[in-house]
């Protein structure tokens, strides 16, 4: 019986496994090797240098600058985005008027390409014709911030775009979770005299735990990446104030022809994401409630 089972499963699984190994596992393994080499990304084969790249990274201000920008995103994006998404999901599920319209509108940025969003928001932040600066000037503020041109505001301008872009996606995740919470729980709470606030904090939020966990993982990956939006809006500037690991490694690889070093940054980035993901699953582990 057992032998029979594998005899059937293996041939079906093999093509997928082969493709996966060839196009996912193998490049990963190769990248791991490149991270320990010096390589210009041209023809000569990589030269093995052991831990040199990682040593260099420790003393590289640009690496620490990029990592700290990633950490700022990592702290603020989950709080703002998930908080906002949860709020929207809760309000819409309360059957406010035009709730379907809101749902589609908030989700809409998610279907747009990152490049389009970057260009669109570059116009929004445009210092002379952009809507923010024009509005501020209209109400009498003479020197509105140069959003993307000033190191003090550039990073936060990108935070705002990312929240705008991704909140809708998490809202949909939360709404799906809310729909699966049995009505009877709400009815019981209402009978006990619970208001909107306590209903949310005592019933909705605790029962959305599974959705929150996976959302946290998603937003962590977004905060550690940030390549597309940064590359289209600021290229890491001004003066590296929005540089993140992904843009830094791109610069090293494709501008300075240092593929070995770039790949070692990618490895660090990969390890950080894996550790954070495991940590999130570990810390937020709770008993799942079946309903």
């Amino acid at each position: 019986m057992h032998r029979n089972k594998y005899g059937i499963i293996l041939p079906f699984l093999a093509p997928a496994l082969i493709l996966y190994s060839l196009f996912v596992i193998y490049p990963y393994a190769q990248a791991m090797y490149v991270a320990f080499t010096k390589w210009k990304g041209l023809r000569k084969s990589p030269r093995f240098v052991g831990l040199d790249n990682f040593e260099k990274m420790l003393g590289d201000d640009k690496f620490w600058n990029a990592l700290s920008n990633n950490l700022i995103y990592l702290v603020f994006l989950p709080i703002i985005t998930l908080g906002f998404a949860l709020f929207m999901a809760f309000m819409i599920s309360q059957k406010v008027r035009f709730s379907n319209f809101y749902r589609v509108t908030f989700f809409f940025p998610q279907v747009m390409s990152v490049v389009a969003i970057g260009i669109l928001w570059s116009f929004v932040y445009h210092p002379t014709i952009g809507i923010f600066s024009s509005l501020l000037k209209a109400v009498g503020i003479e020197n509105p911030p140069i959003w993307l041109g000033d190191p003090d505001t550039a990073l936060w301008s990108i935070v705002a775009v990312t929240v705008w872009q991704s909140a809708g996606f998490f809202m949909v995740i939360f709404m799906a979770g809310m729909l699966s919470i049995p009505k009877s729980l709400y009815e019981a709470a209402a009978l006990d005299g619970a208001g909107r606030g306590s209903t949310f904090f005592r019933i909705t939020f605790p029962l959305l735990w599974e959705n929150t966990r996976s959302s946290l993982v998603f937003i962590t990956v977004i905060a550690m990446d940030m390549f597309g939006i940064t590359f289209t809006m600021t290229q890491g500037g001004p003066d590296r104030s929005t540089d993140v690991l992904a843009t830094l490694l791109y610069e090293h690889a494709f501008l300075h022809s240092r593929f070995g070093y770039a790949t070692s940054i990618a490895m660090v980035y990969f390890v950080i994401v894996i550790v954070l993901t495991l940590l999130i699953f570990r810390v937020t582990r709770r008993e799942t409630i079946e309903f």
Binding site: R43, G149, G237, F254, L255
Partner: protein
């Protein structure tokens, strides 16, 4: 100082404005080919020994110039060598497209390595991927009888393609760098282009009080202020040896007093509030658009500006280019000019000879004329602008070069050789012009990057004189 050797008289001769090239060419026998109209000089049909029926492949950056001019050169190629052909593919982001093919050992025969995301030329040369173009330089020119290919190119125009004395690429566009303004605006307001930097600052004061911002620059890409202002200013104040020292990574090269003086002169634009508000948040085209709307009086750029902004340039704007003034009025005419758009041949391509032969066709007089007529730019080819009508921008650029006489300033090579230093210049320049860094801090940061490059044994070093 590198004197390019273009005298006033000879420059007119070079561009063919006086039609002097024609007299010479009619003496020697030529074969006129019908389709493109190229007149092949006798004995210049196939000096490099292109094999019959060669089907070669070219991949080219297609940016501000488009790639129709390359297709035209391919027509010349096919006409001169019946049975052979050069395929032309115009692309963007050359590096991403060609890198896998280079790694696989299957590069095309010839490429134009320009534009954003191009390949690191220093690394390519260092890895031995790029052919020595010596045979091409000494081969007879295709339609200038009695001259070699190298002799038909503007003197000094191919210096940036020399790596340790070996010609690795040829530049096909002749570009003048400087400061632009609208002649009609200046005439209307009665402003005159200043002859010294002090004059520039007092004119800025006048401009500012009229409600126009005196300056803007390509905000998110502050490196435009390097080639527009810093390079010529430093050369005018302290001589051209400084940039050679910078290129040769001489310790302390950036700490030259002329560098400090020039940076402080530039910083005065920010300190006096002469830079248009919002400039740091603009891209190159956005800032150039503001300038075209006369919201700012001056902007630094190269001669591609006219073509780049053609579709939104208001009628009667009359853009003209001038050299940046410095401490010495007598050096006003000194101007940065160089050739860009590097075309190179792969040493591991299937048909390196076809690559070189194609470049001989591309930099022919016939092709240069087509380029001037249809692209509105100049190839560094003697006689290449013969009988072509030029715009105000192009005319002002040619006048500027003519006035500069022997004082055409070479652009430094470090941006192409050492991308790390260039990145640091870009970042520090933005900091300087927004008041976040002093001139001293600029120098400290860039000198630091230069020192790091010098000490990094993995970076291939080049020398120039």
């Amino acid at each position: 100082m590198k004197k390019s050797g273009i005298s006033r008289r000879r420059f007119i001769e070079y561009t063919g404005a006086a039609g002097l090239g024609i007299g010479l060419s009619s003496v020697l026998p030529q074969i006129l080919l019908a389709k493109t109209g190229i007149k092949v000089a006798s004995g210049a049909t196939n000096p490099l020994g292109l094999a019959a029926n060669t089907q070669a492949e070219g991949v080219f950056f297609s940016g501000g110039f488009g790639h129709a001019y390359i297709e035209y050169a391919a027509e010349i190629f096919a006409e001169v060598h019946p049975g052979s052909s050069m395929s032309v593919e115009g692309i963007q982001r050359v590096g991403e497209r060609l890198r896998p093919r280079i790694i696989a050992g299957n590069p095309p025969d010839v490429m134009d390595n320009s534009g954003a995301g191009n390949l690191d030329t220093g690394a390519l040369v260092g890895e031995g991927e790029i052919l020595d173009l010596g045979p091409l330089m000494s081969a007879p020119a295709i339609d200038t009888p009695g001259k070699t290919f190298g002799e038909t190119l503007f003197p000094g125009s191919q210096n940036s393609g020399l790596f340790d004395g070996v010609q690795r690429y040829v530049n096909i566009a002749f570009t003048v760098f400087g400061v632009w303004h609208s002649k009609s605006l200046f005439d209307e307001k009665g402003w005159n282009y200043p002859t010294t930097w002090d004059g520039m600052l007092s004119l800025c004061d006048t401009i500012k009080s009229s409600g126009i911002a005196p300056w803007t620059y390509q905000g998110k890409y502050p490196q435009y202020m390097l080639f527009g202002l810093l390079e010529p200013m430093v050369s005018k104040i302290g001589g051209t040896q400084i940039w050679k020292d910078v290129d040769n990574l001489v310790p302390g090269a950036w700490e030259h007093p002329a560098m400090l003086q020039a940076l402080n002169m530039m910083k005065a634009l920010h300190d006096n509030g002469y830079i248009m508000e919002g400039t740091p948040g603009l891209t190159h085209t956005e800032s150039q658009a503001e300038w075209l709307q006369k919201k700012a009086a001056f902007i630094p750029c190269g001669t591609w500006l006219e073509n780049e902004m053609r579709s939104i340039t208001p009628g009667g704007f009359d853009m003209v280019i001038k050299s940046v003034p410095s401490d010495d009025a007598s050096k006003l005419s000194w101007i940065d000019a160089s050739s860009g758009e590097p075309f190179m041949v792969f040493s591991n391509g299937k048909n390196p000879v076809a690559g070189m032969e194609f470049l001989r066709c591309l930099l022919s007089k016939e092709s240069a004329k087509w380029f001037a007529q249809n692209v509105g730019s100049i190839m560094p080819v003697v006689g290449g602008a013969e009988g072509v009508e030029l715009s105000s921008a192009m005319t002002s650029a040619l006048t500027a070069v003519e006035n500069a006489g022997p004082n055409i300033l070479d652009r430094p090579s470090f941006p192409g050789w050492y991308s790390d230093i260039y990145s640091e210049v870009k970042d520090s320049m933005g900091a300087l012009l927004t008041g976040r860094a002093s001139a001293e801090e600029f120098i400290e940061r860039v000198q630091g990057a230069s020192d790091e490059v010098r000490e990094d044994e993995d970076i291939v070093k080049f020398k120039r004189s």
